[in-house]
C-alpha cells in the first residue's frame, strides 16, 4: 500500500540559501507525525513545498499514487491536502461563522450556485456550527475574525482546516498562542480525527509533541537529521545536542 504523502529528495533554495535539502519523507495513512527542529531549520518551507505554495528546486512530492509536484495549491486542496498557517491568515472582515461556512461551501463546490443564498444552505451552516462547537467557538460565531483575541484566531485557523475534511492535514504550529490548558484540547480534536486522515504537525512545545506524535521527524539546517518514534528521538544523542540539548544549556 502506498504512503499517503511521500517526498523524494525534495529541495528548495533561495538564491544561495538551501532552505530544504534532499528531504525524503514518507507518511503512511493515518500517521500522527510531528516535525521538529530549531528555528530556521526549514520546517515552514517544507510545508510550503508540500502544499504547493512554493515550487521545489528539485525532488518530487507524491500524494498516494499521484505525483503532485507541479500542481497548484488549490488543486492539492481538492485532492484532500489542507494546511494551517503559522502566522494566522484569516478573513478579517468576515465573522467566524461566515469563515467556516465559506470553507464548507468551497469544499462542496457550491460557489457555482449564484442564486442560492448562504442562509438557505442549512446543511452547510449546521456542519459549520458543529465544528465551532467542537472547538468551543460558538460564543464567537458572530464576531469578526480580526477582532478576536489571538488564541481564538488560532482556533479558527484549525476550524477552517477541518472544514475542508482533509485526508492529509499539515499543521504549522497549531498550538502557538493558545493558553497551555487549551492547547492539549486542540490537539486532542486533531488526534481523534478518523484514522484515514494523515496528520503532520510542526510544533515547538515538546510536551505536546511527545503526547500526540507517533513518529517524529527532526529537521536541522534544511536537512532531515533523523526520524523515529518518540522514545527513539528522546534517546538520540544527536537530537539532544542539536535541539533538545539547547534547552538544557539555555
Amino acid at each position: 500500500m502506498s504512503a499517503a504523502l511521500r517526498t523524494e529528495r525534495l529541495s528548495r533554495s533561495f538564491g544561495g540559501l538551501l532552505a530544504n535539502s534532499e528531504i525524503s519523507l514518507s507518511l503512511p495513512v493515518g500517521a500522527r507525525h510531528a516535525l521538529i527542529g530549531p528555528n530556521g531549520a526549514g520546517k515552514t518551507t517544507l510545508i510550503n513545498l508540500l502544499t504547493g505554495v512554493l515550487p521545489p528546486t528539485a525532488g518530487e512530492v507524491w500524494l498516494g499514487e499521484e505525483r503532485i509536484t507541479h500542481l497548484s495549491q488549490h488543486q492539492r486542496v481538492r485532492r484532500g491536502m489542507t494546511r494551517t498557517y503559522q502566522i494566522t491568515a484569516l478573513f478579517g472582515g468576515l465573522t467566524v461563522l461566515e469563515s467556516v461556512v465559506l470553507a464548507v461551501c468551497e469544499r462542496k463546490g457550491l460557489a457555482s450556485r449564484w442564486l442560492r443564498t448562504v442562509a438557505s444552505c442549512a446543511e452547510e451552516a449546521e456542519e459549520a456550527w458543529a465544528l465551532l462547537q467542537t472547538l468551543h467557538l460558538e460564543s464567537e460565531a458572530g464576531s469578526l475574525t480580526r477582532l478576536l483575541p489571538y488564541g481564538k484566531q488560532r482556533l479558527v485557523e484549525i476550524a477552517l482546516a477541518l472544514a475542508t475534511r482533509p485526508r492529509i492535514l499539515l499543521l504549522d504550529e497549531p498550538a502557538a498562542g493558545i493558553p497551555a490548558g487549551e492547547s492539549a484540547e486542540v490537539l486532542d480534536v486533531v488526534a481523534r480525527l478518523p484514522r484515514d486522515v494523515t496528520v503532520l504537525f510542526i510544533e515547538h512545545d515538546m510536551q505536546l509533541v511527545f503526547r500526540f506524535a507517533e513518529r517524529i521527524a527532526v529537521l536541522v539546517g534544511g536537512r532531515l537529521l533523523t526520524e523515529g518514534t518518540p522514545a527513539e528521538i528522546a534517546a538520540d544523542r544527536r537530537v539532544r545536542e542539536v535541539y533538545l540539548g539547547e534547552a538544557e544549556h539555555g
Binding site: H74, L97, E106, A111, A119, A130, G142, L162, R192
Partner: protein, 338 residues
C-alpha cells in the same frame, strides 16, 4: 461534550440569530427605499429625465461595486464597458433595430464578452498592474471609438438613435415618462440579481478573496476563475447601464468612455460606501444632484471642491456615507454593538 461533525442533525443547535449568514430577505427600510421614487414620479414631473440619469448611473456604480467592493479589484477603466453597451444599443437602433429590450440585452452581452476577455489580464496582476491594465483598456476603447468616427460618430457623437416601442406598446416620449419607468425597472431587476449573487456562496467567496486572497487557495478555491466570472458579470451590468443611456437619451457621445467617467464612478462609489450595494444607490443620486447644481454654477468651481472633498474624505472619512451611517447606527441607544 463532543458532537460528531456533520451528518447527524438532530442534536445540533441552529446558529444563533446574531450570527446571521448572508441572506436575501428584504427589510422594511429597504422596501421603503425602493417605493420612495414612485411618488416622486408623480410629484416631480419636470425631473423625470434627471431621475432616469440617476437610475442609470446608480446601475453603473452598482456594477463597479461588484468588483471593487466585493472582489477588491480597483478599476480605472470601467467606463469602457459602459461605452460598449451604449454604442452597441445605439448602433443597433441607428441601423434599424429599435427594439429596446433586445438592444439592452445585446449591449449587456457584448460588454460581458469583452469583460470576460479582458479579465484574464486583470486578474493576473497585483493592484498596480490592475490599475494600469484597466486604465489602458479604458483608453484603448476610447481611442477606438474616437478613431472609428465613421461608425461611432466620433467626437460629434452618435445620433439618429430611433427607438421602437417598449414591449410593443409604450413609446419613448419627450417628457421621459417611459424612460423613467424603463430605467427604474431595469435598475431594480439588476439590483435584485446583484443582491442575490452577493448573498450566495459565490458572493461569500468573493468577499473571502477580497479579505485574504492568499488564504482562498488553501480552501480549494480557484481564485482567478472566480474573479473572471465576477468581472464579466460586472462588465455586463455596466453594459446594460450604457445601453439604457443610449436608449433613453437617444444619443451616444464619446464622454461615455472617458477616464473622467471612470474616475467619477470611483468617486461616487467611495462617497456612498463600497461593498454594500446600497453605497452605489446612495452615492449616485447625491453626486449627480450635487454635480448638476454646482457644475451649473461654474464647472471649475465644482472640480476644485470635488477634488478637495476627495482629499479630505480619504484622509478623514472612512467607508463613505454608508460607513458613517454604520457608525451613527452603532451609537444609537438600545442597539447592541456588533
Amino acid at each position: 461534550m463532543r458532537v460528531e461533525p456533520a451528518g447527524g442533525r438532530a442534536e445540533v443547535g441552529a446558529p444563533e440569530p446574531s450570527s446571521r449568514l448572508p441572506h436575501d430577505r428584504w427589510g422594511p427600510l429597504e422596501i421603503a427605499f425602493w417605493l420612495a421614487p414612485i411618488p416622486c414620479y408623480f410629484l416631480f414631473p419636470g425631473y423625470l429625465v434627471l431621475a432616469s440619469q440617476v437610475f442609470i448611473t446608480s446601475l453603473f456604480a452598482l456594477s463597479l461595486d461588484l468588483i471593487l467592493g466585493y472582489a477588491g479589484i480597483v478599476s480605472l477603466g470601467h467606463a469602457a464597458f459602459f461605452g460598449i453597451g451604449a454604442y452597441t444599443a445605439g448602433l443597433l437602433a441607428a441601423h434599424g433595430w429599435g427594439e429596446p429590450l433586445s438592444g439592452l440585452a445585446a449591449g449587456g452581452a457584448l460588454a460581458a464578452a469583452v469583460g470576460f476577455l479582458v479579465s484574464f489580464l486583470v486578474v493576473r496582476g497585483g493592484d498596480l498592474a490592475r490599475l494600469m491594465v484597466t486604465l489602458g483598456i479604458g483608453q484603448l476603447v476610447y481611442e477606438a471609438a474616437n478613431k472609428a468616427a465613421s461608425v461611432t460618430g466620433g467626437v460629434d457623437g452618435l445620433g439618429g438613435v430611433a427607438m421602437g416601442k417598449l414591449l410593443g406598446r409604450f413609446s419613448f416620449d419627450l417628457e421621459g415618462r417611459a424612460a423613467w419607468i424603463y430605467s427604474f425597472l431595469v435598475l431594480f431587476a439588476c439590483f435584485a440579481l446583484a443582491r442575490r449573487v452577493v448573498a450566495s456562496p459565490f458572493g461569500l467567496s468573493l468577499r473571502g478573496i477580497r479579505e485574504n486572497d492568499r488564504r482562498m487557495p488553501a480552501l480549494g478555491t480557484p481564485v482567478r476563475r472566480r474573479l473572471v466570472a465576477v468581472f464579466a458579470l460586472s462588465a455586463g451590468l455596466a453594459g446594460v447601464a450604457g445601453a439604457l443611456l443610449a436608449q433613453t437619451t437617444q444619443f451616444v457621445g464619446l464622454e461615455v468612455l472617458g477616464f473622467t467617467r471612470s474616475a467619477e464612478l470611483l468617486i461616487i462609489l467611495v462617497l456612498g460606501g463600497t461593498g454594500r450595494l446600497y453605497g452605489a444607490l446612495v452615492g449616485a443620486p447625491l453626486f449627480m444632484l450635487a454635480q448638476n447644481y454646482l457644475s451649473g454654477i461654474d464647472p471649475t468651481y465644482w472640480q476644485f471642491w470635488l477634488g478637495l472633498l476627495l482629499v479630505a474624505a480619504v484622509l478623514f472619512g472612512r467607508g463613505g456615507i454608508m460607513g458613517m451611517a454604520d457608525r451613527l447606527r452603532a451609537r444609537l441607544p438600545g442597539r447592541a454593538a456588533r
